[in-house]
Symmetry: C2
Subunit: 335 residues, 2 copies
């Protein structure tokens, strides 16, 4: 029998919670019963949702918390008030090793700050990073950092390379992922000093954990030739959001250009297109580099998207991600 994965869930985070949380758990349990969920939040609300489902109660324990961190609170304000919030308690359960991984659809900034306050970084990791799955022509890439660290040095980027490739191996395959640094050109002399230094560190330290492919430009992120793309949190956040905005713009203009007849004849084609790029399939950003992994679900996703983020948690725990990261590290003199 496979290991039971214990997930600490902030049951109040995100739109339409705890309803979508319990429905998401129900979707997962229909295929996989090797889970146990610690649910943090308003007991009566959670119980009400659980009572609508047949078998969910056997796989859950509710821990009542009085407070909730709101989406518009600054990380600092959230951290101050947070001791009796569902988010804080869920992360605390990781610290106490009661659970294997934690999951929240709440305020991202607050989640990063609380995770760093409560959890230690992995020995040798300078800064944790936020990683996510990015669709491409062939499958998906891992991209990091997406906003946890506005400024990074070569030690940070080298750590991100090790963590990102360990994550890719956990989620997809056992082969060595192809890895590249996001830059504004392909030549060795392109970009800023931090990128140039990281380039030479990764070139000189070829490991068995990834194959270093040099630089990648923004227009090739989605080609599918690179599995792990490393960048600082500022650039990664700009790239991710620009891609999101462009995708919305093109899709909207495309649909607006179709007349009624072509819309009718394109119904199934449009559905196929939508299914392939369904953002719920890519739901679940991972906060990497802490002694326990923390997963962030999109706040506005639904139960299907939330179920996907639970599956991400399961893959990460089964693949021993933290051990993989620890054994993959490249030693760099910190600046």
């Amino acid at each position: 029998m496979s290991k039971i994965v214990k997930i600490a869930i902030d049951a109040m985070g995100g739109e339409n919670s705890p309803k979508k949380i319990i429905e998401g758990i129900d979707i997962v349990l229909q295929k996989n019963k090797n889970n146990f969920f610690y649910l943090y939040g308003k007991k009566n609300l959670i119980e009400k949702e659980i009572s609508k489902k047949k078998n969910v109660d056997k796989y859950c324990e509710i821990i009542h918390t009085e407070d909730i961190i709101l989406d518009d609170e600054t990380p600092l304000a959230a951290a101050k008030k947070s001791k009796d919030t569902s988010m804080w308690k869920a992360i605390e359960s990781l610290k106490e090793k009661k659970s294997d991984i934690s999951l929240s659809a709440g305020n991202t900034g607050a989640l990063l700050v609380i995770s760093r306050l409560l959890l230690n970084t992995i020995d040798g990791i300078s800064k944790p990073a936020l990683a996510a799955l990015w669709p491409n022509q062939k499958n998906m890439s891992v991209v990091l950092d997406l906003g946890a660290n506005v400024e990074c040095n070569e030690k940070n980027l080298t750590d991100f390379a090790c963590m990102g490739s360990a994550l890719f191996k956990s989620l997809f395959v056992n082969e060595n992922p192809k890895l590249a640094l996001l830059n504004i050109g392909l030549e060795e002399n392109k970009g800023n000093d931090v990128l140039k230094k990281t380039f030479s560190i990764l070139k000189e330290n070829q490991t068995n954990n990834f194959q270093f492919e040099g630089y990648i430009e923004g227009n090739h992120i989605m080609d599918g030739d690179i599995d792990v793309i490393v960048t600082d949190g500022f650039t990664g956040n700009i790239a991710l959001k620009t891609a999101e905005g462009t995708a919305n713009f093109i899709t909207k203009n495309f649909k607006n250009s179709l007349n009624k007849i072509s819309l009718l004849f394109s119904y199934y084609s449009l559905k196929k297109f939508k299914d392939k790029l369904d953002p719920r399939k890519y739901n679940g950003a991972i906060f990497l580099g802490l002694q326990s992994p923390v997963v962030k679900s999109h706040g506005s996703t639904d139960s299907v998207g939330f179920a996907h983020s639970i599956n991400v948690c399961n893959k990460i725990v089964h693949a021993n991600l933290i051990e993989k990261i620890e054994s993959n590290l490249i030693t760099v003199d910190p600046k």
Copy 2:
């Protein structure tokens, strides 16, 4: 009668030149004869193309140059060999005030380096920047810097704000453009130190030349609410290329998802969509901040795209862009 705009053209730059150059000139002359073109490059090749057109020869003077800068040459190598190249001579004609503006579809890196070598910056401008037109839901925005300066301080970004808004006013309207800084969040405390300092400079120096709207995130670039978007050259280049890659990815997947019947019924809709987003309409990046403006056409564009970049040149000269920039500058103590 309107002023004759004198354009110095590197007739050898880009794919399929000088053929597309002469065809592009012919397209422009059919609607507007207030132009004179100095064409730099291989005389026999240019003459051969001109002889195929009816009236082009009256509006052109050919200046023979022996060398060409290739697309894969580094800017340094190009600058060394460049004294008798079509690109160098075209920029030199600006320096000598023989022409009003210069246009090339050649190697971008080399063009920036040669322009900086030969032309002075406008008094008060710390660094020139590369600006381009970006389609949005309502019309087009000006985005800069797109790669001329990897690292920027608050003085550079403030200059970019002044230059970008002057360019927007030259190309489109006389109203004050709405301007924002590209960042990873909307709150005043978001981003790096340079952005925070630039934010407070622009907030305190409200001018009549633009309306400062604070920060904009990558997913809102194409909404059309902001006319001028300011960023450093590294971030701008990543954002532009990521948008380009995403647009290709979505369009390709959309078309692949259409079956034969829906493709048949969507023919005119797809054509409408393609026309609206035709990249040739956005052709013409502008190198701003030098005492004469230099326009860069996409290397792979055709004669229609090249004609668009000639129109951009005409608008810039007619609107007295350089004077507009000079009178718009905000004084910032350089770091």
